[in-house]
């Protein structure tokens, strides 16, 4: 009888451990590559807190593992000159040449004993290029980042020739989280409120946070995996309740 509370405590702790294991079992691996002459986004302090890409997404309930991979991809030159603007088609070839991770998620056995189960690792790819970007059909110096192929929501680009990206670390980290948010199937209208991450950088001006809006968090935490994680489907394929904000319901 005296052991019962201890047994209950042990069981509770095991349950917590199991839940922690299972929740930690779904992760997103973010492979980041960059061209020579560029830099990855770095840790930033905002509103008295230190922020990284990992902590931004952890705050929204997601474990992401950022893997800074290639750091010296040389921009191709046409003769002696380097092109100023990289097109979406050319970006796709950068990804083909340098992406080491798969597009689709991988599942693998994990845990032990009664907590043995299947873990899933989703994949996203980010490339920092030493160019201005196209994205809207023609080159624009105002472009900070782009998800250049919405068919599978698995990759995004950041443009180091944009002066904000190259000289404003806080906004650069924000744009990176914003583009990764698109890979998680979030949209600009999900940036309810004027300061949250899915608003465009031009909209938030000088007042911004590293947090997602309530609508975005609801999507990130509750919606079906195939409508949520990178590499699982087309952008905007969302669940019914998410769709009510966008006027469409197409989650398979």
């Amino acid at each position: 009888m005296r052991n019962k509370p201890h047994a209950r405590f042990a069981l509770t702790m095991m349950m917590f451990a199991g839940i922690a294991l299972l929740s930690g079992c779904v992760t997103t691996h973010v492979e980041m590559d960059r061209m020579t002459g560029t830099a990855f986004p770095t840790e930033q302090t905002l509103d008295g807190r230190d922020w990284t890409l990992e902590s931004i997404f952890l705050e929204a309930g997601h474990i992401i593992d950022v893997d800074e991979d290639d750091t010296n991809i040389a921009p191709l030159r046409d003769g002696s000159t380097q092109q100023q603007c990289i097109t979406d088609a050319e970006l796709e070839t950068v990804e083909i040449a340098n992406r080491a991770s798969p597009v689709t998620p991988t599942s693998f056995a994990c845990g032990a004993g009664i907590f043995r189960g299947t873990c899933t690792r989703y994949e996203a790819y980010g490339i920092v290029v030493d160019h201005v970007g196209q994205c809207f059909g023609s080159c624009r110096s105002s472009l900070l980042g782009c998800m250049y192929d919405t068919t599978d929501r698995s990759a995004f680009s950041l443009y180091f020739q944009n002066s904000t990206v190259s000289s404003d670390g806080q906004r650069y980290l924000r744009t990176t989280a914003h583009e990764l948010g698109h890979a998680f199937n979030l949209h600009h209208p999900d940036g309810s409120g004027s300061e949250t991450l899915m608003n465009t950088t031009g909209t938030v001006g000088n007042s911004f946070t590293y947090t997602f809006s309530t609508d975005s968090e609801e999507h990130l935490q509750e919606h079906d995996a195939q409508c949520r994680f990178p590499g699982t489907g087309a952008w905007f394929s969302v669940t019914d309740d998410h769709a009510t904000r966008h006027g469409n319901a197409t989650c398979p």
Binding site: Q83, T150, T201, A234, F236
Partner: protein
């Protein structure tokens, strides 16, 4: 009696009119301030397309008020504020068109002057969910523009008919998903040497259906692509421009049914190719064509022209001279 009845009837009619006016005023008061004086129009480049033919639309935002209005910076769906919906005739639900790209930019919301207009022209035939019009029939197309809060502005609805054509579309949509996707990307991007399945598919379509509108677009896209170099990281090499081949293709294009945006792309590609071939006078004529096409546009084509004259090395050099 008749007079009293007449008076009562007039009084009732007045009450009804007042009630209607009041309800109208209430509705007007409930309409968000920011969209009350804005009008959104959607216009396809033509009314009837052959199956597989690329569909382009122009969206115009007009300020009908007497004071300036704060509006979204860009109307292109890739900016993430404008949504395009396509509804097949008789269907219950419309489908959202997903643009092939979406971007983050650091331009603050702009102000649209009283009586001012902004516009954008873009393709809606292929996007994140693949090809949009894969069946013949009638479709309704409209746009919504997100405002602050839940306010959204809805455009006029434009009918589009997708006709059977001469078989090019049926051939395309009988190919594998990968072939269709690569072909869609090549036509949207107007480049992509690495999209080998697209080249094989389009070559076959041009061979089998030389007069099809889709073949015309394929010739145009290939000509535009060859008029400039392609930085192909997948093979680690820059493919140089091929001006002679580009000129041969671009001069074959039938421009009669092309949207203005593609006519602009063709003129700029011809200017680029003539300049690269050392034919400066011909190049200047084509650049002048491009500038007059853009001059007729309020905004969309001007932005494309400005971008090309800034970032294309050949055109930038011509523009300086």
């Amino acid at each position: 009696m008749n007079s009293q009845f007449e008076n009562n009837r007039n009084f009732l009619a007045l009450l009804v009119l007042l009630a209607i006016a009041a309800s109208g005023a209430t509705a007007l008061a409930q309409e968000p301030q920011e969209i009350r004086y804005l009008a959104l129009e959607l216009e396809p480049s033509k009314r009837t397309y052959a199956l597989g033919e690329p569909v382009y639309v122009t969206v115009r935002l007009r300020n009908r008020g007497t004071s300036k209005q704060s509006v979204a910076t860009m109307l292109d769906p890739a900016a993430g504020f404008l949504s395009i919906f396509v509804k097949p005739a008789g269907a219950q639900q419309q489908q959202l068109f997903i643009p092939l790209a979406v971007g983050d930019f650091d331009v603050a919301p702009s102000e649209l002057a009283a009586s001012g207009e902004m516009n954008a022209t873009f393709p809606i035939f292929f996007g994140g969910n693949g090809w949009t019009f894969t069946q013949t029939g009638d479709y309704d197309v409209f746009a919504t523009l997100a405002g602050s809060g839940s306010a959204a502005l809805r455009s006029t609805t434009a009918p589009i008919t997708i006709a059977r054509g001469d078989g090019a579309g049926q051939y395309l949509f009988s190919q594998s998903r990968q072939d269709q996707y690569e072909t869609g990307k090549f036509l949207v991007w107007q480049q992509g040497d690495h999209l080998r399945r697209a080249h094989a598919t389009l070559d076959e379509i041009i061979k089998q259906f030389p007069d099809a509108p889709l073949s015309n677009h394929a010739v145009l896209a290939t000509g535009v692509s060859l008029s400039r170099p392609f930085h192909d990281y997948s093979i680690g090499r820059v493919r140089a421009a091929q001006p002679e081949r580009a000129l041969e293709l671009l001069n074959r294009v039938n421009i009669n049914e092309l949207p203005d945006l593609l006519r602009l792309h063709r003129s700029l590609a011809l200017a680029r190719a003539y300049a690269a071939a050392g034919l400066r006078d011909d190049a200047q004529v084509r650049l002048d064509d491009a500038q007059s096409l853009a001059a007729d546009s309020v905004r969309a084509l001007q932005q494309t022209l400005t971008a090309e004259l800034t970032y294309d090395p050949v055109l930038a050099q011509m523009n300086k001279q």
